[in-house]
Symmetry: C2
Subunit: 306 residues, 2 copies
């Protein structure tokens, strides 16, 4: 495979690229919206792609929303989108536990209500959602009551993460037969104004350190995220374009699954980041170099309307 | 330096070893006590060593107690011990912030009341102790009110560890001038019956992951723990014996500071662990091989009473 060049996408090359694919996978935050605002032109891009016969999917590591919540948000922001086109890690983790782990039991969930809902939709019961504060003396902590039906620990984003939850996860994971899954390893959630708050990766690292085990990770760059879409919609990787703002998740997923990749500069990663990977000489970092880049996905609109 | 052999200490070799040192540093949990019970014979060993003119120190990574709390516990269990012989990471972290970091400001403390007390004794004000639960919406979290006088984040054991604390630490540490110190990296606190609960290392890993920075670590195997004792009591490393139950903390500290090392098998590490390090061929792991081992420190009692 030739080394990716990260060409600026413009003029006729936009149409050529779009002609070569039948499906486009978009990351969400930093790509089609930022926080609660659509990226200007993004709804038109997605709606025009669909009108032109492309299949469009929304592939996000964010675990705080159900597919339905995402479809509602997309609709409100002017995107023409269906629930079954949304692949967030709340949903994909439930699919993973069901189809890959073949889980037969409950989940101890460090995560949100949305995650619990997606698990329940898949017929999986979850315990642990909501606040959990430590109580009693240290010698009691190791004997905290456990649900004998729990056969997996799932770690996603949880604003109620606590020492008590960390300890409960450790006690479950001391059983080597208890499965251990994480939604994603993003270390920070970027917010407006160069601000950030801790991401799921921090919580997962704490649990992995306590359990002295590594979690199976569902989210990008794990190829499961693409397999999850591909298995439901029969996708040919060669005819897919992955569009994202992060080199280490979106572009890495695309490269490792054989998709065409497009970086948009409305989010986390910069051209300087790309150049650092190019210069590194490290094969893994080379995989984070996208085929193309744009300043914003709005730049592909003229080619769609032409 | 010759490769350590991990010889079983017995008979005349006990007296020879003790004759060759003037100071003995003991780890506490798993060495002189387990939980709230003295290891049988341990008080007699320590009291006899002192009677015979040896200096004895108690060097522990546990950050949940002040020197005074340790001296009280030692006294209750029958050990003849003074407060100034105790070097726990609550105390040593305060010394570190004062003497190495030359801190001029407050500390944001993820830790216990005992840690706050040791900091205050050293004239350092700490904020953050006690429960802290997340509130408001995600966009507020990055704008959580910060104390402008905080110039360091210190992470020790904290049963109230929470997402809110993790986030607050991240916001402080976004300032590259804010110093970042951890008491220790132990991943688990071992309890009776092969049970364990998460240790400070899990909390520190979460904060390091969020901050994308590595903490300066005070506790064993960091040589600061020995330097802290040595600077107050003028110790010659060649004439010191480090006694511990953990290869990766106690024995590693001893080896790297040039002390003689003795593993006792009443705690975490086993002879199988030693053998694995010996076989590894890895220079760092070789440093975790002790000079000697005993089943219990009670085995050195006859030599002291002879």
């Amino acid at each position: 495979m030739a080394v990716s060049k990260c060409a600026r996408l413009s003029g006729a090359s936009i149409g050529d690229l779009l002609d070569s694919v039948d499906s486009v996978l978009f990351d969400c935050d930093g790509v089609i919206w930022r926080g609660d605002q659509a990226i200007p032109g993004a709804p038109e891009v997605i709606n025009s792609l669909k009108k032109g016969g492309k299949r469009v999917f929304f592939v996000t590591n964010n675990s705080t929303k159900t597919r339905k919540m995402y479809a509602d948000k997309l609709g409100k922001l002017g995107f023409n989108a269906r629930e079954d086109e949304v692949f967030g890690t709340a949903y994909c983790s439930a699919v993973y536990l069901k189809t890959v782990c073949k889980l037969d039991g409950k989940v101890y969930l460090i995560g949100s209500n949305a995650m619990r809902q997606e698990l329940e939709t898949m017929g999986i019961q979850a315990v642990g959602v909501g606040p959990d504060h430590i109580s009693g003396v240290q010698n009691d902590w190791a004997n905290v009551p456990l649900d004998p039906e729990v056969k997996a620990v799932l770690v996603g984003f949880d604003e109620h993460f606590s020492y008590a939850k960390l300890n409960r996860a450790l006690q479950y994971l001391c059983n080597p037969e208890c499965q251990f899954v994480g939604t994603n390893t993003d270390t920070r959630l970027p917010l407006e104004g160069d601000k950030a708050v801790p991401g799921t990766g921090c919580l997962l690292k704490a649990v992995e350190t306590a359990a002295q085990r590594q979690a199976q990770v569902v989210g990008k760059p794990s190829s499961f995220m693409f397999k999850c879409v591909a298995s439901q919609f029969v996708l040919d990787p060669n005819k897919c374009l992955m569009v994202g703002d992060r080199l280490d998740t979106d572009i890495m997923l695309g490269s490792s699954c054989g998709l065409k990749t497009l970086l948009t500069l409305t989010g986390v990663s910069t051209i300087a980041d790309v150049e650092a990977h190019q210069r590194s000489g490290c094969p893994i970092r080379q995989e984070m170099v996208p085929d193309y880049y744009v300043d914003s996905i709005a730049e592909i609109l003229p080619a769609l309307q032409g």
